[in-house]
């Protein structure tokens, strides 16, 4: 199930919240059980048979973590380590089988000229997210950072929790451990959660889905061999740049909002990534729960920056190839990961130094530099077919002609939408809100206005959801 569907908004969510809040806050285990059942329904909605995969994952992680805990307590380090290896193998095995088998077969076929059949298995939704969550739990148990969870329902509820199940953020067990045992939903939290959810829903439905239409049409022209001209190719690339940000961060907003309503505090996943002044900064602001996961569980264990520069550069390269591959089972994602690996290494070696020498008056140059590579990165990310990808990039840089009429058409249609997207990508709303907060006179008026705007956004989102059959969901590939 996805958040931006009628079933979720008009049936699943109201019913789940009704049941959840009918259970008194003191009965947290009953609430956990309700959440677990709801989450399994949510998860199995599209492919009921994959509930089995989910159970395999939960049981394996539950049992292995407790065994690791036991060996840790009896100081049997080697057995604890062995169990950890088994656990990581199970998680990566599930992920690998469902997500990467066909990719592997396809690659082998391509290299050797063999003709193995593809399995063509559907990807269980959210598998990239919940296997990473589960691994963070077991590794943290191994490291002694958290205790093994003996209550099966609590662990199962943590792994399946529907708000962040299918598109993140990747919530670490250590961050919600306490709240699994005790949590409250007061009026303020609920209203903050609702606010956040509506903002996320609008980002997804009102901006991302409309950007998707623009990108799809321009991409289709290039894919079928037409030449829409450089300007239009850039408009398409920018549209996708906004689409993926508003889709993904909108989803995170909805997850964080729902978490708040249910009494959980999730960490932020995005921090205005498009205002970054370097690629390094961009990756500190984009999909933060993934970057920090890789940092914590791959980069640092590999030695991070403690083993000298050459080793650090290799570590960066490894992390970024894996990050690329995590995003999708296709070579363009690997290329995209390597692309960022190279940029980050270059910044580490010399580019950041150069960028810092730019006087602050000309600071916009750093933003242009960053967004240039980010936009180009999204083109690589989004086009699986290498010949179309090469073609698209060539057209962006003037390999084709120009088509002013066509460009004007899209420019006119997209102008207001793009302007809205730019404003929503900047911390403007927060800034204005803070300014107004300083003036008590405006305080109540501001909040009333905000409430009014949120209601309008909610109604518009419902209108677009109900009438637009165009509601593609980007993250099934992940």
């Amino acid at each position: 199930m996805v958040f931006s569907s009628s079933v979720f908004l008009f049936a699943f969510l109201p019913l789940t919240l009704l049941v959840y809040f009918l259970i008194p806050a003191g009965f947290v285990m009953a609430r956990n059980t309700a959440l677990l059942i709801a989450s399994l329904i949510f998860y199995g909605w599209g492919e009921p048979k994959y509930i089995i995969v989910m159970f395999v994952s939960i049981i394996a992680n539950y049992v292995l973590a407790l065994m690791i805990d036991k060996y840790n307590n009896s100081n049997n380090k080697s057995m604890a380590k062995a169990m950890l290896v088994v656990d990581v193998a199970v998680n990566l095995g599930l992920l690998g089988f469902f997500k990467y088998t066909d990719f592997l077969i396809d690659t082998v076929n391509g290299i050797t000229g063999a003709d193995f059949d593809l399995l063509e298995i559907a990807l269980p939704i959210g598998i990239s997210f919940y296997t990473f969550q589960a691994m963070s739990y077991v590794i943290d148990v191994y490291r002694g950072k958290v205790e093994g969870q003996k209550n099966f329902i609590v662990l199962a509820a943590y792994i399946t929790l529907f708000p962040q199940l299918i598109a993140g953020p990747i919530v670490r067990y250590s961050d919600v451990e306490k709240q699994m045992k005790k949590r409250t939903s007061d009026k303020e939290r609920i209203s903050v959660g609702i606010r956040r959810f509506i903002i996320g829903l609008s980002k997804k439905i009102l901006i991302a889905n409309q950007m998707a239409v623009i990108w799809d049409e321009i991409y289709a022209m290039v894919a079928q061999g037409d030449d829409p001209g450089a300007a239009l190719c850039w408009i398409g690339a920018v549209a996708f740049t906004f689409q993926i940000y508003f889709d993904f961060s909108g989803y995170s907003d909805m997850a964080i909002g729902l978490g708040k309503i249910l009494g959980f505090d999730y960490l932020e996943n995005f921090n205005y990534p498009y205002i970054s002044a370097s690629i390094t900064e961009f990756w500190r602001r984009w999909h933060m729960s993934l970057s920090s996961w890789f940092k914590e569980y791959v980069y640092i264990p590999l030695g991070g920056n403690r083993k000298g520069l050459p080793r650090q550069l290799i570590n960066i390269a490894i992390v970024w190839a894996l990050t690329g591959l995590w995003h999708g089972a296709s070579w363009n994602f690997v290329l995209w990961g390597v692309y960022y690996g190279v940029l980050l290494i270059a910044e580490k070696l010399f580019l950041l130094n150069i960028l810092e020498k730019i006087p602050s008056k000309l600071g916009f140059i750093r933003h242009i530099y960053t967004m240039f590579f980010v936009i180009l990165g999204w083109v690589i990310f989004n086009i699986t077919d290498f010949s179309v990808l090469g073609n698209y990039i060539a057209l962006m840089f003037g390999a084709g002609g120009s088509s002013p009429e066509l460009t004007m058409y899209y420019a006119k249609s997209a102008a207001v939408l793009m302007a809205a997207a730019v404003i929503a990508s900047l911390p403007v709303a927060g800034y204005i809100s803070k300014k107004l907060d300083k003036n008590l006179m405006f305080y109540t008026t501001k909040d009333m206005a905000e409430t009014f705007v949120l209601l309008i956004l909610l109604l518009m989102s419902i209108a677009f959801l109900v009438s637009g059959s165009y509601n593609p969901f980007l993250y099934f590939r992940f």
Partner: protein
């Protein structure tokens, strides 16, 4: 200073509380209104505007749940049966129009309110268009020896006719498609290409404002060109308005209330023609189904819609010696036939979207003098046609 800040903080939380509760209740009321309203209102069978049946409550079965069919149906059901469905669509259209969108749901909105169907290069199925043209050439090879003449009229879309006036630049290159047709079809091709450009005399144009079909003037012009291609005499017609409240298929896609309504006119001469129309074994004494004027899709007044086959016999005394015509067509022919009704003794219309028999056999066995292939250019590219063999058996 510190105290002042604390004071302010306190005030904020207090007034914040009211707003918190207000937002929570407001959102709950909106959501509950939609949910309860949709649940209480009886489910609708059909959406007139969308011209389709709406999804009904799916029945619950383990089998359907495991296959995921129940879940899919439930999503469709909730979207289809939501309270005020058309109004939600209107809200979306108004928002998109107000922020400067040139097109909504695949329809261009021109400044004067004219609606034109949007078909991009990606929508246009060039290879199917070509293979359908090849089918026509083959049909001609088969029937021309028996003395049957094949003629083809491809009606340009409104997007092509208005291309110089309006911003329709995302549309596919229809001119290219038309010249390909002219090349392949040779003397069979009755050229309409540039004939439907809006001009001084017909500034209202040749297409309905809210529908993709050609209007009275368009169909009349098409008929006049066809007649001169067959070297038949020119005729004059008088228009009779059947309704001025026609909201066509394009209107349904956009649903903006400020849009203009069309009138449907027919040649008054055709109202009096003595005909026998046979559709699905039933006979009628008129080509018009006046009861359809009560419905949303008033274009169905012509023949009541589209069928696999319609036979029209002209019972007029002078028509016995007139030729027989077979039209292979889409819905554009429905409003075209009134203008040529008196030129033929019998007219058979066959819609290859529904007709399973062989058009070639029909043309030969029925001893038709003329075969007319009459399609809108886009329609002609959409469905794969099989004209020379039967799909039955």
């Amino acid at each position: 200073m510190q105290e002042k800040r604390n004071n302010r903080q306190l005030n904020k939380t207090q007034s914040g509380r009211h707003v918190d509760i207000f937002l929570t209740f407001a959102v709950m009321i909106v959501m509950l209104a939609v949910i309860i309203g949709s649940a209480v209102l009886p489910d609708r069978d059909k959406s007139e505007n969308e011209n389709r049946f709406l999804t009904q409550a799916p029945s619950f079965s383990i089998e359907d749940i495991l296959s995921g069919e129940y879940q899919e149906k439930l999503e469709e059901y909730l979207s289809d049966q939501i309270i005020g469905r058309d109004n939600w669509v209107k809200i979306r259209s108004s928002v998109l129009k107000s922020i400067g969108y040139n097109d909504i749901n695949g329809v261009y909105i021109l400044d004067d309110g004219r609606l034109i169907e949007r078909k991009t290069q990606a929508d246009f199925r060039a290879s199917r268009f070509k293979s359908n043209l090849d089918q026509v050439v083959e049909l001609n090879n088969e029937v021309s020896e028996a003395g049957t003449q094949v003629r083809v009229m491809l009606v340009p879309t409104a997007a092509y006719s208005y291309r110089n006036e309006a911003n329709l630049s995302t549309n596919y290159d229809e001119g290219e498609a038309l010249s390909l047709a002219a090349d392949i079809l040779g003397e069979m091709y009755v050229k309409l290409d540039e004939e439907f450009m809006p001009d001084g005399e017909h500034k209202d144009g040749y297409y309905y404002m809210t529908d993709h079909h050609w209007n009275y003037d368009g169909a009349m012009k098409g008929a006049s060109i066809y007649r001169s291609a067959l070297e038949l005499e020119e005729k004059e017609y008088t228009a009779e308005e059947l309704t001025d409240d026609f909201k066509g298929t394009l209107y349904s896609k956009v649903l903006l209330s400020e849009l203009i309504r069309d009138s449907i006119c027919v040649p008054v001469e055709s109202l009096d023609t003595d005909v026998t129309v046979t559709i699905d074994g039933e006979t009628y004494d008129s080509i018009y189904f006046m009861d359809r004027l009560e419905n949303k899709d008033k274009y169905e007044v012509f023949f009541g819609g589209n069928y696999d086959r319609v036979d029209i016999r002209n019972n007029g005394t002078e028509t016995r010696r007139k030729p027989k015509l077979l039209i292979v067509k889409d819905s554009y022919a429905n409003s075209f036939v009134p203008f040529i009704l008196d030129d033929f003794s019998e007219i058979t219309m066959v819609d290859p979207r529904y007709f399973r028999g062989s058009v070639k056999d029909l043309a030969l066995d029925g001893e038709y003098d003329q075969v007319l292939i009459l399609f809108n250019v886009t329609d002609f590219s959409e469905e794969k046609m099989t004209l020379n063999m039967s799909l039955l058996s």
